[in-house]
Amino acid sequence: MLQLSIEKHKRMFRLKRTYSNERDLIEACRDKNAKAQEALYEQFSPKMLGVCLRYLPDRNDAEDAMIAGMVKVFENLHRFEAKGSFEGWIRRICVNEALTLLRKKSKMLWDEVEKADKEKFETDTEANLEAEELLKLVQNLPAGYRTVFNLYAIEGYSHQEIAGALGITESTSKSQLNRARNFLKKMIAEQYQIKSYESGI
């Protein structure tokens, strides 16, 4: 197992070395070069799977979304213009694929009533949380909350963009975001309490 992972890393290193320049890599992928395609996959697939996992808690679903996103990336490489970030372009495609799959898998419930929670937020508690813990918290959110929170807080979409992408109003997007935040805060507080109880504080 260890040997396999070492060989894989070696291979990745070799592929990255051959396509050190992103432009060359993109050009080679446009020419349907199999090695270049693999190199691009090796470079971006872990990140994109991380993105998809935030939207789709099930790993298989997330992986399917990532694969579908990467296929679209390879198919639409000729449309990519070198003006923006290549990674950002891929990320957007993968996010869209994750949302498409999410729509198929589950019905997202949208609360139209906007309630801004004004609960105090303790910065010390969540500062110690690791990425995986945070990911679990996000994955535990209801689908609607989770999606808006991911798009707004992590991807940096505006409420207008979110409304356009999900087919909801901006106010709904805002309310979903606030609910997601409150939900997360609650969960973090509970987790902190459990941790402090366990440690005997």
């Binding site: 697939s45 799977l49 992986e63 694969i67 296929v71 937020f121 990425a131 992590i154 935040r181």
Partner: protein, 252 residues
């Protein structure tokens, strides 16, 4: 407050990576569009076919033709069949013996019979002609003898009669001897010529009779080795009897 909260999640999760499973790349690869390799495959297949065709023509047809030509030349040159039949190895001992015996039988029996028949016919004709001639001569002589008798009847009856009879007898005897000798002469004249004609006849007949078999054997044998191997493989596949002698190399 909310911005700080969002920032915390952004920092931690934006670049968060998860390693996909090993099957993911295989899945993705199966869905990826690939380069069209059809032209290459078509060209390669075409070249392969051409190569095979040329190979078959060169090794298969070409060699058999040349070998056939060589064989026919040999057959034309060598009317001595046992020598020509040395190449046929698969033939049984009996077949070989038959082939060796056949020419000798033809040399002796068939030509002799024909020769005898021809000779007899010619001899008969000549004998008949001679007989007719002798009969005519005898008649004339008899008439002459009668005339002589009439002239010399008065002078020497007894003597002249004996003489004329003796003459006639001598003539008859000479003529009879001639008639007997002439066929012998004809034989002596014909005999040196006949064997040549007979040999030619027998050669032609023998070649006409034996060539088809001989050619067939040579064609079967002189197929290229790989074709023979292919044939035996085909036989093996079909469950037929495999001749392992065909797999051996040709002895030059």
């Amino acid at each position: 407050m909310n911005q700080e909260f969002d920032q915390l999640f952004r920092d931690k999760l934006q670049n968060h990576e998860e390693q996909p499973s090993a099957k993911a790349w295989a899945k993705l690869r199966s869905k990826l569009p690939r380069k069209d390799r059809k032209p290459f495959f078509f060209v390669a297949f075409g070249i392969l076919l051409c190569g095979m065709g040329l190979g078959y023509w060169y090794f298969g047809m070409g060699l058999t033709k040349t070998q056939n030509l060589e064989k026919t030349e040999k057959v034309e040159k060598n009317t001595n069949f046992p020598e020509a039949n040395k190449n046929t190895k698969n033939q049984s001992v009996l077949e070989r013996a038959n082939l060796e015996e056949k020419p000798s039988v033809k040399h002796d029996s068939v030509p002799n019979l024909e020769r005898k028949g021809v000779l007899e016919e010619k001899n008969l004709k000549q004998v008949l002609q001679k007989k007719i001639q002798t009969e005519k001569v005898l008649e004339k002589k008899v008439e002459n003898g009668k005339e002589v008798k009439t002239v010399l009847e008065e002078k020497m009856q007894a003597k002249s009669e004996n003489k004329t009879e003796n003459k006639v007898e001598t003539n008859l005897e000479n003529q009879a001897e001639k008639t007997e000798k002439k066929p012998n002469e004809v034989r002596t004249e014909v005999e040196p010529e006949m064997p040549i004609t007979v040999i030619i006849k027998t050669g032609d007949q023998a070649s006409n009779r034996q060539e088809p078999l001989h050619e067939k054997d040579s064609l079967i044998k002189k197929k290229p080795r790989f074709l023979r191997i292919l044939k035996q493989l085909h036989n093996f596949k079909e469950g037929e009897k495999v001749n392992f002698q065909d797999l051996k190399r040709d002895k030059k």
